[in-house]
């Protein structure tokens, strides 16, 4: 991030929407812009994972570049001139959201996505209304996978694989619009390499991956985030010291997350921290 506004030989000068900014030479355009409070939409990008370049919502104009440039993965160059809002960019982002909306159910997409869709005047049905048609994969008591809501951002694959858990239980299978996230031969999760760390749920932006507890409550119509409180605590299962955010509704833990900026976890947990809370509310002592 930007350390200082003073001239510094280690920093490079770039302009963001006409304003001169100093940046670390290994900083991405997105980092620089967000540090300047410039609003840039993202879907596949997450600070704790390597950029995957899938959503293309973060594209910006860079003077001299023939095509738009993904800001999440491009590092700055000395003298780079960056433009983050223009008709060209707004039109692209609008169309990209409309493309998403025609292929996936965005009803549970995160709040930022909802905000950006309003900002870019998105007509979700422009390319046809998406009808959810896939069966929700409920294969255990811990979490569900609803690929009607999957935007193929690859975050879960990265979190399961090299960027966090190194379990590699899931990857992308197939090609084109038929590509989907899958275990090998689509075997059920208990038969796969999955270790139930739940880090895929933690990074999913659209509710395609969800705690079974949340899924059941939504099905029953009892899920109500307005009635939930979040209690931050430290996991007591081992000595690592992971922060846990316990999401509590009606005095019961309904979901566990970890803050993405927590230095120990980067938002990731293991099966014990993520799912090992049942004993707190066991009805059969």
């Amino acid at each position: 991030m930007i350390e200082s506004v003073l001239p510094n030989p280690g920093l490079v000068e770039v302009t963001v929407n006409g304003k001169t900014v100093l940046a670390r030479p290994d900083a991405t355009i997105l980092e620089v812009c967000r540090a300047e409070n410039v609003d840039i939409p993202t879907m596949c990008f997450l600070e704790t994972l390597s950029p995957f370049n899938s959503c293309r919502l973060c594209v910006v104009e860079v003077t001299g570049s023939r095509t738009l440039v993904p800001s999440c993965s491009r590092t700055v160059d000395r003298g780079m001139e960056i433009t983050t809002e223009s008709e060209r960019i707004a039109n692209t982002r609008q169309t990209l959201y409309e493309m998403y909306a025609s292929t996936v159910d965005l009803s549970l997409a995160d709040a930022d996505t909802q905000r950006w869709m309003a900002k870019y005047d998105v007509s979700p049905d422009r390319f046809g209304h998406y009808e959810a048609h896939r069966e929700v994969k409920v294969q255990d008591d811990l979490y569900i996978r609803d690929y009607d809501k999957c935007v193929m951002c690859y975050r879960c694959v990265a979190a399961c694989g090299p960027d966090a858990q190194n379990t590699f239980a899931i990857d992308v299978a197939g090609r084109g619009l038929f590509a989907t996230i899958s275990t090998e031969f689509d075997v059920v999760l208990p038969d796969s390499a999955c270790v139930y760390c739940g880090n895929c749920i933690g990074v999913c932006p659209t509710g395609a991956l969800m705690f079974k507890s949340e899924f059941d409550m939504r099905e029953a119509g009892t899920w109500d985030e307005n009635r939930q409180t979040i209690t931050t605590t430290i996991c007591s299962f081992c000595g690592v010291g992971c922060n846990l955010d316990l999401h509590v509704q009606d005095n019961r833990v309904v979901k566990v997350t970890s803050p993405i900026d927590h230095e120990v976890t980067d938002g990731h947990l293991c099966i014990k921290g993520r799912f090992g809370y049942a004993y707190l509310q066991s009805e059969d002592p």
């Binding site: 594209v59 998403y100 090609r175 619009l177 590509a179």
Partner: protein, 548 residues
């Protein structure tokens, strides 16, 4: 089995197979063998079963989910049980202009509907198989036997192979090579060779037309001890067959070009990535390499693609060799800095590399004398479709499309449309037929030279059907990584489909225009950038739509 540094689900080892050992570092060193091994399984049993995939995963080692992701990426690798013999029959644009549609209906009459197992055989429609000069073509995969190509193909011949009749194939004898240019290159020294390539002014023949000398110097000067040369022989652009032809004519020109390139940039390992349907050309190359191998300082290895157009994109090709899904990488970094296995990599097309021995022998200046100032040398053009003598034409840069068509025996019937550059190219207007086919004229007048495909359609061809087939091609070949291309190619197909049914609305036209713009401006690679060219040009010049 290698020592483990990773043990996903280790506790279940005794009870299931969904585990791979070796960890990140161990796995990384052998991961590049994944696709060749999947090919071996596919070739021997006709598909990759669950048990086979798990076994492969353990032995490589690679996580089974990742191996499955790779296997399902490619058309020629199947993870569902398949009959022992599968014929892939081209119904792409060039075949459609000729007897392709007739062949398809003959097959339907003789063998029943496509994609339906009939005992131990099945046939399916396929994208262009790169034998466009021969009229019709089928590529037949046979479990336990060598896959083969029949071109021209009739329904009877295809049916006979599908029944299991034996086929005699002639592998032509390979002559002894004379590597005089390579010897000369060694005496000149690496820097002098690169200077000759710069002086020749040669631009890449694969489609992007990048100055070759700049690329060579980029790799030679890039920091790093390990460098690679990669020959892109994944020729999959519909209507393009020059690379296959070149290999068939003279595999040694390519091998010598690669050896010179490796010497000039300081690489000791080279790969030839050849499309999976070019088995005959691959065999020929393999025999030639066997003959030539001991004369070379560079280790040249053939890697076979597996049916994915996107793998012709340079970074997708690297991922494919490395054993990952053949998806492109975001550039920069460019291959000259970080390419195959993260090392500086020189990647050139077959035609480019095959031209190198001549440049070394005759000097770059002589090469630069041929053609025009910006487009030097000779160029291979693939003229196909409704012309008298479809084939590869080796001509000096500067000829016009009309001259090339005349060279190829003239059009059969009245010309309705000409497509240059293949599916990624665009349809020409009448006046564009007289524009010289050079990089500079192409750029100025919006003609895509691409890989050198020139496809002629006469007035008997249904251009709506052709345009629809191109839209279908891109929807099928999009890798699915980035949203503009993953969704855009399918939405484009939806709209072209509606136009084919007679609907042509202002909204659809506007949407098509917008989809094309977003794909061109925001996609990660050249596939998305060019996926709307043909459709847009077909509408613009009135080949399809209500003004057609």
């Amino acid at each position: 089995m290698p020592e483990s540094s990773w043990s996903g689900a280790e506790e279940r080892v005794p009870t299931d197979d969904h585990v791979a050992y070796g960890g990140f570092h161990g796995a990384a060193s052998r991961r590049h063998l994944l696709l060749p091994v999947l090919h071996a399984v596919q070739d021997s049993i006709g598909w990759v079963s669950h048990g086979a995939l798990n076994y492969v995963s353990k032995r490589i080692p690679v996580a089974p989910a990742e191996a499955y992701g790779v296997a399902t990426f490619y058309d020629l690798i199947t993870t569902e049980h398949m009959p022992a013999r599968v014929a892939r029959v081209c119904d792409d644009v060039v075949c459609k202009a000729g007897d392709g549609n007739k062949l398809i209906s003959d097959l339907e009459a003789e063998l029943g509907p496509e994609n339906t197992a009939n005992g131990e055989s099945m046939w399916v429609r396929s994208a262009c198989l790169g034998h466009c000069e021969k009229g019709t073509v089928a590529f037949i995969q046979r479990a336990g036997e060598q896959a083969l190509t029949i071109a021209p193909a009739t329904a009877d011949e295809i049916a006979a192979v599908l029944r299991g009749d034996s086929v005699t194939t002639n592998t032509p004898p390979v002559p002894a090579p004379f590597f005089t240019a390579l010897t000369k290159a060694h005496t000149m020294g690496a820097a002098a060779v690169r200077n000759e390539v710069v002086a020749s002014g040669i631009r890449g023949r694969g489609g992007a037309a990048f100055p070759v000398g700049v690329k060579w110097n980029g790799v030679a000067n890039a920091p790093g001890d390990t460098k690679y040369v990669v020959c892109n022989a994944d020729e999959s652009e519909p209507g393009t067959f020059k690379d296959r032809w070149l290999i068939e004519q003279n595999p040694f020109a390519l091998i010598e070009g690669i050896a010179i390139a490796a010497f000039a940039v300081g690489a000791s390992k080279a790969y030839i990535y050849i499309r999976g349907e070019y088995r005959e050309a691959e065999d020929l190359l393999a025999s030639a390499l066997e003959v030539a191998g001991s004369d070379l300082d560079v280790d040249i290895e053939i890697r076979r693609g597996a049916g994915a157009y996107i793998c012709g994109e340079e970074t997708a090709l690297f991922n494919s060799i490395e054993g990952f899904r053949g998806q492109p990488r975001q550039k920069p970094p460019f291959p000259t800095q970080s390419g195959l296995f993260g090392s500086p990599t020189l990647i050139n097309n077959v035609e480019t590399l095959a031209a190198i021995p001549g440049i070394v022998t005759d000097r770059g200046a002589a090469f630069a004398q041929i053609g025009t100032e910006e487009s030097t040398g000779l160029k291979l053009f693939c003229v196909s479709g409704n012309v008298g003598n479809p084939g590869v034409y080796h001509v000096e840069f500067g000829v016009t499309t009309r001259e090339l068509i005349n060279l190829a025996g003239g059009a059969n019937g009245e010309i309705q449309a000409v497509l240059t550059g293949g599916a990624a190219g665009s349809f020409l207007t009448e006046t564009q037929l007289d524009v010289p086919l050079t990089f500079e004229d192409g750029r100025d007048s919006g003609i895509s030279l691409g890989s050198g495909a020139i496809i002629v359609f006469n007035t008997d061809v249904d251009m709506m059907e052709i345009t629809h087939r191109i839209a279908e091609f891109f929807a099928h070949e999009s890798c699915g990584l980035c949203v503009p291309c993953r969704v855009g190619t399918t939405r484009q197909l939806d709209i072209v489909g509606r136009m084919r049914e007679g609907s042509d609305t202002q909204t659809d036209r506007r949407d098509l225009d917008n989809i094309g713009w977003v794909m061109r401006d925001a996609s990660i690679c050249g596939l998305g950038h060019t996926a709307s060219n043909a459709v847009e040009s077909a509408i613009r010049i009135g080949l399809i739509g209500s003004d057609a």
